[in-house]
């Protein structure tokens, strides 16, 4: 029974990926980059969900890892003439190391204190990127040597999304994921039942930092210019949280659904109401957080359309 469900989901994922792989040839440049950014937000929302949805530690500074990945790519490609794909790996490693350094002390904090500390950590990272002229060119930002990046970045993002989705699916349906859930539900009880919460939280946090770094790197190579305010933008963190919540945090399908729905809605309002779209976005955040904290998936579970729990 469970196996049949896994196979069904695998086939579904395969079809989506196949469709997305064939898609760009039939699309305009604008639509292609729209799909690319949608996929990027899927990566970001899924990653945020590992630490905040599965483990219950609300990170309000996840954009830090995205920014680190973007900077790793931009610096290595522009200043050291690396191949951009290689720079993505470096970005992932740096983000993982930073995640351990930040996470080890900060994951001891709970609830709002963790959220605020992460917000501070992300803003701090942005300031460091601004003042560390020698490495990051400071506030001027970095321009990458121009190249035809539309197609390669599209496929890189697709691969990154596939990897993230598979990892999240495996984590979500494993006992490792269940233990993260247990920490979210009651950390004290989880520890009493043999779960080394410190280690698990750190593992989840590090895992959730790696994929945004890769996505950030791809994005940097796609747009060919980055500066601190654009890649350490608080609203990217908010988007991760909001997308996960809209779809249903703590699930695997939820963040994907949320990212697609929200990014599309955002793009549509931006195109149609350019001057007021951020006001509309703010109102949308309020409405989602206020009225559907359990998201679309939670809505479906309550009505019995979707099965409860990740493991059967």
């Amino acid at each position: 029974m469970a196996r049949r469900e896994h196979i069904r989901n695998l086939v579904l994922l395969g079809l989506v990926v196949l469709g997305l792989a064939l898609l760009p040839y039939g699309l305009s440049v604008y639509l292609r980059s729209f799909v690319l950014f949608t996929m990027m937000y899927v990566v970001l929302a899924l990653s945020w969900n590992i630490i905040s949805g599965f483990t219950g530690y609300t990170s309000f500074g996840h954009v830090a890892f995205y920014g680190i990945g973007a900077y790793a790519c931009a610096i290595l490609v522009a200043d050291y003439r690396w191949h951009w794909l290689a720079s993505l790996g470096v970005g992932a490693v740096v983000a993982a190391v930073v995640a351990v350094m930040i996470g080890y002390p900060v994951l001891r904090l709970k609830g709002p204190y963790f959220a605020i500390a992460m917000l501070g950590a992300a803003e701090g990272t942005r300031v460091i990127a601004t003042v560390w002229d020698g490495l990051t060119h400071g506030g001027l930002g970095i321009s990458l040597p121009s190249a035809e990046t539309s197609m390669p970045t599209y496929y890189a993002m697709l691969a990154c999304m596939l990897l993230t989705a598979v990892v999240c699916y495996v984590v979500g349906h494993s006992r490792f994921g269940i233990r993260l859930n247990a920490i979210r539900e009651d950390e004290g009880a989880a520890e009493a039942l043999g779960i080394d919460a410190t280690r698990y939280k750190l593992a989840a946090f590090t895992l959730s930092a790696v994929f945004p770094a890769v996505a950030g790197g791809i994005q940097a190579y796609k747009v060919l210019y980055i500066d601190p305010p654009s890649v350490f933008f608080v609203q990217i963190t908010i988007a991760m949280a909001l997308m996960s919540m809209l779809g249903g945090k703590g699930t695997v399908a939820g963040p994907i659904l949320g990212a697609v729905v929200l990014y599309t809605a955002q793009e549509l309002t931006w195109v149609n109401f350019p001057s007021a779209h951020l006001i509309a976005y703010g109102l949308f955040i309020i409405v989602v957080a206020r009225f559907m904290p359990r998201g679309l998936i939670g809505f479906a579970i309550d009505r019995g359309w979707v099965r409860k729990g990740m493991v059967h």
């Binding site: 309000f60 904090l109 300031v127 949280a241 951020l278 955040i285």
Partner: protein, 328 residues
């Protein structure tokens, strides 16, 4: 106090001593700190100016800590309320020709009503929800406020030329008149709020609700009404802060974010829900910021870093802050 609690206080004191020493060390290294008399009196003026600025910070941080203490809601739109106060004052000054301090007489009641409306429409539903919900709701509110302000006032920086003279304290130390006036106003308003919380029945009810909402309810306190008053008061404090900030510094719709983070840092330093702590935290943060911007190269960015660094380290060393005890 438990032994570990005392230890954490010493640790925090040691950390703060290092934090304050650091700008001097950097300053000596970079040549921005000198030993001569002229520089020393300049330093004194900077520290004094920092203290005065800190009084204003503390005032709006008390608003944030009120909401957090009473409802456990982190108001991520607090800085936007400060920004709103600055624009209200600006409009009053340039379009109606009202003195910024006199304008408080009608902006504060307005802010109080705005806060109460906010509580009824938004925050009542968020009390008791996980932190993600309240953070997102208030952040969304902040976005609406920022971009509405941009629509109305554009992103241009605004300043209010008010009391541009200086006050000569000694023959060598002078401080801007606007700073002194702001500080005095902040002290009066903060004192008023303290007296309200300490002495009045309603203020006592607010404090009781902060300690334990359930017990307060059992004791016959209408908790929903207390929430209304809390948010009204907090909004008024933020708007007052905005008025006092607007006569000292330039502002645009996006400056609010900085004030939010500053207020976070202050209440964490002081201890959440602790009003005297917020006062001390505000003074300490502002002095540190002024020292950093005086001596460390790359001043403005480093000022922010100092605030975030202070915030995170205090959280790690002593989550309860200076005045609070460690939370379970």
């Amino acid at each position: 106090m438990e032994r570990s609690d005392v230890r954490s206080l010493y640790l925090l004191a040691a950390f703060l001593a290092c934090a304050y020493a650091l700008p001097f060390v950097v300053g000596v290294g970079a040549g921005t700190a000198r030993g001569d008399a002229a520089w020393l009196s300049y330093l004194a003026a900077v520290v004094l100016g920092g203290l005065m600025q800190g009084g204003v910070y503390a005032m709006f941080a008390v608003g944030l800590t009120l909401i957090f203490g009473v409802m456990r809601i982190i108001n991520a739109a607090h800085g936007e309320m400060v920004m709103m106060g600055a624009y209200l004052t600006w409009v009053a000054f340039f379009y109606l020709g009202v003195d910024p301090l006199l304008a408080l007489a009608f902006t504060l009641p307005l802010a109080f009503l705005f806060g109460m409306a906010l509580q009824r429409v938004l925050l009542d539903a968020v009390v008791g929800q996980p932190e993600l919900t309240s953070l997102l709701v208030t952040f969304g509110l902040g976005l609406v406020m920022i971009y509405s302000a941009e629509l109305i006032f554009t992103t241009d920086f605004r300043t209010i030329p008010y009391a541009p003279g200086t006050v000569q304290l000694t023959s060598t130390i002078a401080i801007g008149q606007n700073r002194v006036i702001s500080f005095a106003m902040a002290v009066v308003i903060t004192l008023g709020v303290f007296l309200f919380l300490k002495r009045s029945r309603l203020g006592k009810a607010v404090r009781a609700t902060a300690l334990n909402a359930e017990v307060a309810m059992v004791c016959g306190i209408d908790v929903r009404r207390i929430y209304l008053i809390t948010t009204g008061l907090a909004t008024a404090l933020a708007v007052a802060g905005g008025a006092l900030v607007s006569i000292q510094f330039g502002f645009n719709p996006e400056t609010g974010v900085l004030y939010t983070l500053q207020a976070f840092a202050i209440i964490i330093l002081g201890g959440r829900g602790h009003y005297v702590g917020a006062l001390i935290g505000g003074l300490m943060l502002a002095v540190l910021e002024n020292l950093v911007s005086l001596m460390v190269p790359n001043g403005t960015a480093m000022v922010e870093l100092a605030a975030y660094g202070l915030m995170i380290f205090v959280l790690l060393i002593r989550p309860g802050g200076l005045m609070g005890v460690k939370e379970g």
